[in-house]
């Protein structure tokens, strides 16, 4: 049989053919671990087509998704943080601010302004998670407060889309005070009889959850978003126990009575409009 006589060829390592793939064509879904085509994810409003996981989106993308086209007028666009404590860990705070501003194309972790949703006027404030984890310092606190005050002035509803790791450590005590300031503004807003809708997106924790984000007349969450006061790692270290499955996810919060509803991204605009119409008698 011929094939027994085949001469043995030495084993030559296969020349590794590296597929050069341009960055960002494929995305790995952190939930189902599937590799998905980035364009398809984008077309699907940044939701995984396989498992419905909601990818984090930028503040600009959120505004484009929720507000009527060309209706958005930004407020306080130039407001930026100052490093009044000259805070330095592995990097200086002022350098972190600079690199975040470059990365995100905006000078702070929150974009606010006026606009319309299905022609209904609203004031919105939207967190930019890529800017230092959406952390709240003086600027985020001030912009949120001004947004609430503007809504009182215009007598229109206010919606905050949260996505934040909490208070910004680099501004120490002043970051903490933003929790009180924003909540105090909401006390006035409530007195004015206007609707405040808090939309909690992945992740919303710490000082942001423990202030305005939990104070919505309606608390609305995106599916599977991490929402909590203490981060899961801190809790695990404190109680030295494994946390239950799905702990601090939107569905868990719904079950425990902390959010009113979970709304998928594709239905969010419509649902917000529906709620606003009911509350404003339109």
């Amino acid at each position: 049989m011929a094939w027994f006589r085949k001469s043995k060829a030495p084993i030559v390592p296969v020349e590794t053919k590296k597929h050069i793939m341009p960055e960002g064509v494929w995305k790995k879904c952190p939930h189902c671990q599937e590799i998905v085509y980035a364009k398809e994810v984008e077309r699907n409003l940044n939701v995984c087509p396989k498992c419905d996981y909601h990818f984090r989106i930028s503040a600009r993308e959120r505004i484009a998704l929720i507000l009527d086209e060309d209706s958005f007028v930004e407020m306080d666009a130039k407001m930026q943080s100052v490093d009044f404590l000259e805070f330095k860990d592995s990097k200086r705070y002022r350098d972190r601010l600079k690199s975040s501003a470059k990365k995100c194309g905006c000078p702070s972790a929150l974009i606010s302004g006026t606009g319309t949703i299905e022609t209904l006027p609203v004031v919105v404030a939207v967190f930019e998670f890529n800017f230092m984890g959406g952390s709240m310092g003086s600027v985020v606190g001030e912009k949120t407060t001004r947004a609430i005050e503007r809504a009182i002035e215009d007598r229109c509803p206010c919606i905050v889309f949260s996505s934040s790791g909490g208070a910004r450590m680099q501004e120490s005590i002043l970051s903490l005070m933003q929790m009180a300031k924003t909540s105090a503004a909401l006390a006035r807003f409530k007195e004015a009889g206007l609707p405040f809708i808090s939309v909690l997106t992945d992740p919303t924790t710490g000082g942001v959850t423990a202030s305005f984000a939990m104070l919505g007349d309606i608390n609305m969450a995106e599916p599977r978003a991490l929402i909590g006061f203490a981060g899961p790692r801190v809790i695990e270290q404190t109680i030295r126990q494994k946390l239950p499955d799905g702990f601090q996810r939107s569905e868990y919060l719904l079950e425990h009575g902390m959010v009113d509803m979970i709304v998928p991204r594709a239905e969010m605009k419509q649902r917000l409009a529906q709620i606003l119409r009911i509350f404003t008698g339109n």
Binding site: K78, M79, L85, E142, A167, S172, A180, A230, V234
Partner: protein, 317 residues
């Protein structure tokens, strides 16, 4: 109970020597001169140690187990005290005490975090880390104070709100947030004193006041130095470095100019050495600030509190 921080040790040793000499003194042997000399030395040493404390040492001082706690202040400053319990929803939280009393004869509400001194009491008080029920009880008492037109005194001394599964399930974040909003609109005077550790949201949830005072050796911060070190330095043991960066002492915060109204001086060597003297100082400041607020109407109090919060920001535009 004997407990000393490292930097207090040389002072404690000196004081022990003085006591020993006193005991040895009899009619025939007199160490009077020697004792006076040592006392002078101790005085000098005390001044030296306490005027050069690092921020980390001050943090430890703020956490001193013998520091006066809320109930110590209650017994020294107020009369006619009775405690009330429970949030009427779930349970009572011993980490946060609430009640009514008289201040200079006038009725008032008192609210404060409560630590324990021995292990059993520490555990019972959950190391002064409240669950949502604590904050809801505090809010109930504040609303009652408003109903009866009584001023509210709060005493802040907590490492932070408790991070546990139950606390999350029962809405720790919601409880804190609600307190922040409701405290902003209370139509009675609210005077806050940070007496030890002002730990983040867990402290702030009873600390939205017309006046906010800090005791000289207290600290107030958005996160504990250890927590901050664990996140930013990836090493929880670098609390000393983080404490320096956070600038969390009463003097630091006073310098910012917009957060607190007064720093209350403590007896040399810290409040833990002399509860009565420390409480007497606190009382003087509470009297002063209550007097100033007395002329304001309910609406003016709300306005004043809002204006104070509105001034708390640094930014460029």
């Amino acid at each position: 109970m004997q407990f000393y921080l490292d930097f207090e040790k040389p002072l404690v040793e000196l004081e022990q020597k003085i006591t020993e000499l006193r005991e040895y003194s009899t009619d025939r042997v007199n160490f009077g001169g020697e004792i006076r000399k040592l006392e002078k030395k101790a005085e000098k040493l005390r001044k030296e140690i306490f005027s050069n404390l690092s921020r980390w040492q001050l943090t430890q001082l703020a956490r001193h187990v013998n520091r006066p706690f809320t109930l110590d202040f209650v017994s020294h400053i107020f009369t006619d005290w009775f405690e009330v319990h429970g949030d009427r929803l779930y349970r009572d939280d011993p980490a946060l005490v609430c009640g009514f009393a008289r201040f200079d004869g006038e009725p008032c509400a008192v609210i404060g975090h409560q630590k324990g001194r021995d292990t059993k009491e520490k555990v019972r008080r959950n190391f002064a880390m409240p669950n949502p029920e604590g904050y809801r009880k505090a809010l109930r008492v504040m609303k009652m104070a408003e109903q009866f037109g009584l001023p509210v005194f709060t005493f802040v001394d907590t490492p932070g709100a408790f991070p546990g599964i139950g606390a999350e399930e029962r809405g720790q974040a919601e409880a804190i947030a609600r307190n922040l909003r409701e405290m902003a609109s209370l139509k009675v005077p609210v005077i806050v004193t940070v007496t030890g550790e002002g730990g983040s949201g867990g402290a702030l949830a009873i600390a939205v006041g017309n006046r906010v005072l800090m005791m000289e050796y207290s600290v107030y911060s958005v996160i504990s130095p250890e927590g901050c070190a664990a996140i930013l330095w990836k090493d929880g043991s670098k609390g000393d470095v983080a404490a320096e960066a956070l600038k969390l002492t009463a003097r630091d915060i006073d310098k910012l100019g917009c957060i607190i109204d007064d720093v209350i001086p403590e007896p040399l060597g810290g409040a833990h050495g002399d509860h009565a003297a420390a409480a007497a100082q606190v009382k003087i400041f509470l009297q002063k600030h209550l007097e100033e607020l007395r002329s304001l109407s309910g609406d003016e109090l709300v306005e004043q509190r809002y204006a104070k919060l509105r001034g708390m920001s640094f930014f460029d535009e």
